[in-house]
């Protein structure tokens, strides 16, 4: 269904680890571990540790950047283990391979770990029950587990998990433990307060920026304004005079695909480092041979030129071009989305300590400790055994902190100054240096026959993340990472003739994933153009979609629920309008209805109703929270300025000129979550793609003017 995850794993060379989590442990005996002289712990698999003191520790393998994995991932274990989360300690995994893929990204945590971690919990529970039964001399079938204890049916007898952990550890781990019927779930699918919230409202939560270790110094890295330039000379006389500045050194910013020069100001405190950096005078040598479409105007010019030529075919049913050529009722349009910065409030940072024995310890807000482990080992030329990764909470990320150039910088500085160091980027670094969501075009062509849509072509145009970041796209190949989302299998629009193609437009502006990745770009074109086709066919956009989706029951259910909640059939008063859109990404279907009205100062977004079908989920309130966040970020992406490069450098620099939504700018929001027993889909991202097109369609319905270029001017 969705190629993102597979492609991602393949690209990073992690194939084969992802889904073997926990399962690996089932083929082996559980292991007993000495934690302290008095404490023995049963490690049934890497995710569950039961100490004979009664302490239960569950491992969250997916870093929490606000998407709720601290609750969601351990809930999968706890449900089958029969413990509640307030009975256990939760720790973050450290990147070791025994935890499998640990990358938070691609909305993959729950959908990827749903079965493996439930099995891990269920296997542990079976072993604990067996141990209790042996102690009591009864059949395991006469025992049951509940809230961290094993009970003997029909009696008051019970044993805690800790009391039977030693014995349980002598058993083989069952390979196919019995899983609960989802109808019997006590945690999954139920509202439970997130237990990490109290720390997040009292200032106790520890983010990367809060890391502090003895002897640590602070660094501010000064980056090339034109990203790729080299240093001709550094005048650091004034910087060195700043009180607290210890050193100024030349370092490198090692991005996944290229290395560039940078300068680090090392100081006794963060303020001195920032002040020292301002006092630096660096003579940057222009590396113009490295600039490729490094001005947004050049990039878009190249992209619009590519839109006039055929792309590389990704998939095709029927002969689209021949059909389009001879069709009498047809339409064509090009849609545009800009580069965007992630602009999380916590900027990129990392703390690295290279110790005297050559071992390395890292504290950082990163999306993938496993990726960080191999990256740090490789970068510093040490074995992975010598590297310890401590993942902190992430103060927002949205894809950015999966790109760990800032971690390499901290490593480079630590090895050069031979002291533990914290590198903290500023908002200016974050906004001006990228990587960004790539700007993309969608060229769309459609054929109408007898009031029905019969043929459809989506040509995706722009830079490939796999191609630029991982050098993982062969020439003349469609990037299936992005074309997969546009495939008919994914959108289920029943066009008899359907084509997806791709044209790569290279740029040296760094790009990477941004919340919902390419779906955030292509939802805009696809769903506005479907409305254009509906109008051409003289059909209502909802009816037009439903007729194309009649063999796609989950889509029609989502759209019908949206129509009901939005009171779609009732006309709105003059000066008001609504628009809809639907998009599947990360195995979840989300639809939105945006309500707009004309005011003296322009168009106002009054309300957004979103429906999400993400299959089974962990916490309905978190699904709603994520979808609210996606509405807010989706409106920002649709209405605020995109990142512009002029003179080969970023024009914007901070929140004053790269605007994210403020409190007064949000519409009323209403979220509806579809209840079913389908396989879990993503939650953190799928709510975003339909927002921009639903708004674009609402504006057309309000004004009669079709906008095809983001950002919209309201």
């Amino acid at each position: 269904m969705n190629n993102n995850r597979r492609e991602f794993l393949k690209t990073l060379g992690l194939t084969g680890i992802g889904l073997s989590i926990g399962l690996d442990g089932f083929s082996k005996n559980a292991s007993l571990k000495k934690l302290s002289p008095a404490t023995v712990a049963l490690e049934i698999n890497p995710f569950i540790i039961i100490e004979n003191t009664g302490k239960i520790t569950l491992v969250n393998s997916r870093p929490d950047m606000g998407q709720g994995s601290t609750q969601a991932v351990p809930s999968l274990l706890a449900e089958e283990l029969e413990v509640s989360l307030d009975q256990v300690s939760i720790i973050q995994s450290d990147g070791r391979s025994k935890y499998g893929s640990q990358q938070s990204g691609g909305s993959s945590s729950v959908r990827g770990l749903w079965m493996p971690l439930r099995k891990a919990g269920a296997a542990a529970k079976e072993m604990l029950i067996k141990a209790a039964a042996e102690k009591w001399g009864v059949n395991a079938a006469d025992c049951y587990a509940e809230a961290g204890k094993i009970y003997l049916k029909g009696t008051q007898k019970s044993l805690t998990y800790g009391e039977v952990a030693d014995l349980a550890s002598t058993y083989e781990v069952p390979k196919n433990p019995k899983l609960k019927d989802p109808k019997d779930f006590k945690i999954l699918g139920k509202f439970n307060k997130r237990l990490d919230v109290p720390d997040r409202v009292t200032g106790k939560a520890v983010y990367g920026i809060d890391a502090e270790i003895p002897g640590m110094v602070f660094a501010k890295v000064v980056h090339s304004p034109r990203i790729h330039d080299s240093i001709a000379s550094i005048d650091d006389a004034a910087a060195r005079k700043v009180v607290g500045v210890l050193d100024v050194i030349k370092i490198e910013r090692a991005m996944p695909h290229t290395k560039v020069d940078a300068v680090a100001v090392i100081a006794q405190n963060q303020w001195a480092a920032l002040k020292g950096a301002k006092a630096l005078n660096i003579n940057w040598k222009s590396e113009s041979s490295k600039y490729l479409n490094q001005n947004t105007s050049e990039y878009f010019e190249a992209a619009y030129a590519a839109a006039k030529k055929p792309g590389i075919r990704a998939e095709e049913k029927g002969d689209f071009d021949a059909n389009f050529e001879t069709a009498t009722q047809k339409l064509e349009a090009v849609y545009e989305t800009p580069f965007l910065a992630h602009a999380a409030i916590e900027a990129e940072n990392a703390t690295v300590h290279i110790k005297d024995d050559g071992s390395v310890e890292v504290w950082a807000p990163i999306q993938g400790p496993d990726g960080a482990l191999s990256q740090v080992a490789q970068y510093l030329g040490v074995s992975e055994e010598k590297v310890k990764i401590n993942v902190t909470l992430l103060g927002g990320s949205f894809g950015r902190k999966a790109y760990m150039d800032f971690l390499n910088e901290a490593c480079d500085i630590a090895r050069k100054i031979k002291k533990p160091v914290k590198v903290l980027w500023t908002k200016e670094d974050d906004i001006t240096q990228g990587p960004y969501r790539p700007a993309m075009l969608s060229r769309l062509q459609g054929v109408i026959d007898n009031g029905r849509g019969t043929a459809f072509h989506h040509q995706a145009i722009g830079e490939s993340i796999a191609g630029q970041v991982f050098n993982g796209l062969r020439p003349n190949t469609a990037d299936d990472w992005l074309s997969g989302e546009l495939s008919q299998e994914n959108n289920e629009y029943g066009f008899g003739i359907n084509k997806v193609s791709y044209s790569r437009v290279k740029t040296s502006i760094p790009v990477v994933w941004w919340r919902s990745v390419y779906a955030s770009n292509f939802g805009w074109g696809q769903e506005c153009f479907i409305d254009e086709m509906a109008h051409e066919a003289k059909k209502d956009p909802l009816e037009f979609r439903l007729s194309l989706l009649k063999n796609a029951p989950r889509f029609t259910n989502v759209l019908n629920l949206l129509a009901e909640k939005a009171d779609y059939k009732t006309p709105l008063e003059a000066g008001k309008a609504r628009g809809i859109a639907v998009f599947r990404s990360f195995d979840s279907i989300s639809a939105a209805c945006v309500f707009v009205s004309k005011t003296d100062s322009g168009i106002k977004i009054d309300k957004v109703i979103s429906v999400i079908d993400c299959g089974m989920y962990v916490n309905p309130d978190n699904v709603k929270a994520q979808t609210e966040g996606n509405i807010v970020m989706g409106i920002q992406a649709a209405t605020k300025g995109g990142i512009i490069f002029e003179n080969n450098q970023c024009v914007q620099s901070n929140y004053h000129d790269y605007n994210i939504l403020r409190n007064s700018e949000i519409p009323k929001m209403e979220i509806h979550v579809v209840e079913n027993y389908e396989k879990p889909g993503g939650v953190g991202e799928p709510g975003l793609p339909p927002i921009a097109p639903a708004l674009g369609n609402a504006i057309f319905n309000l004004t009669g003017k079709r906008e095809r270029k983001l950002p919209l001017v309201l």
Partner: protein, 153 residues
């Protein structure tokens, strides 16, 4: 280097720092109170909001030299003695935070608002909270939590 006796959360911290050091760095790095966050550094995001004599200020723009000797500084760590502040309770009840990074600042702005206006209307809430950015998009819950907190006070 100048020495400042900063009253933070009713405790005096002896801070030796340059006069132009913004308060946020003194609080975080020298008084070691990490609940106050550094965001944009230009008073655009409000992540560093603390109270100076009860007034919400952006501590990234407040040099130590500008703080009077008698000033009382309150940070997120200072509002929950002995129990959680009503605003914090309301934040938990509404499950406001996602990443939570901006929430110290949001809460300090909300606490300051409710100190002077026990029952703010929608417009007053927006006006008070306009300077606090949240990239996760938790605003709707923030506004609801403020209303709920006002009922608790």
């Amino acid at each position: 280097m100048p020495v400042y006796n900063l009253n933070i959360n009713n405790k005096v911290h002896k801070i030796t720092a340059e006069a132009d050091m913004p308060l946020v760095w003194a609080i975080r790095d020298l008084a070691n109170l990490k609940g106050t966050k550094f965001g944009c550094g230009i008073a655009q995001c409000g992540a560093c909001t603390v109270h100076l004599d009860g007034q919400p200020i952006r501590s990234c723009q407040m040099p130590l030299s500008a703080i009077s000797k008698k000033a009382k500084i309150t940070t997120i760590e200072g509002i929950s003695e002995p129990t959680l502040h009503a605003v914090q309770q309301a934040w938990i009840e509404e499950q406001v935070p996602q990443c939570g990074y901006c929430q110290s600042g949001q809460i300090m702005s909300a606490v300051a608002l409710l100190k002077t206006n026990k029952n703010p209307n929608d417009e007053e809430i927006l006006a008070a909270m306009e300077g606090n950015l949240c990239r996760c998009g938790t605003y709707q819950r923030i506004n609801k939590a403020i209303k709920n907190a006002s009922k608790m006070l």
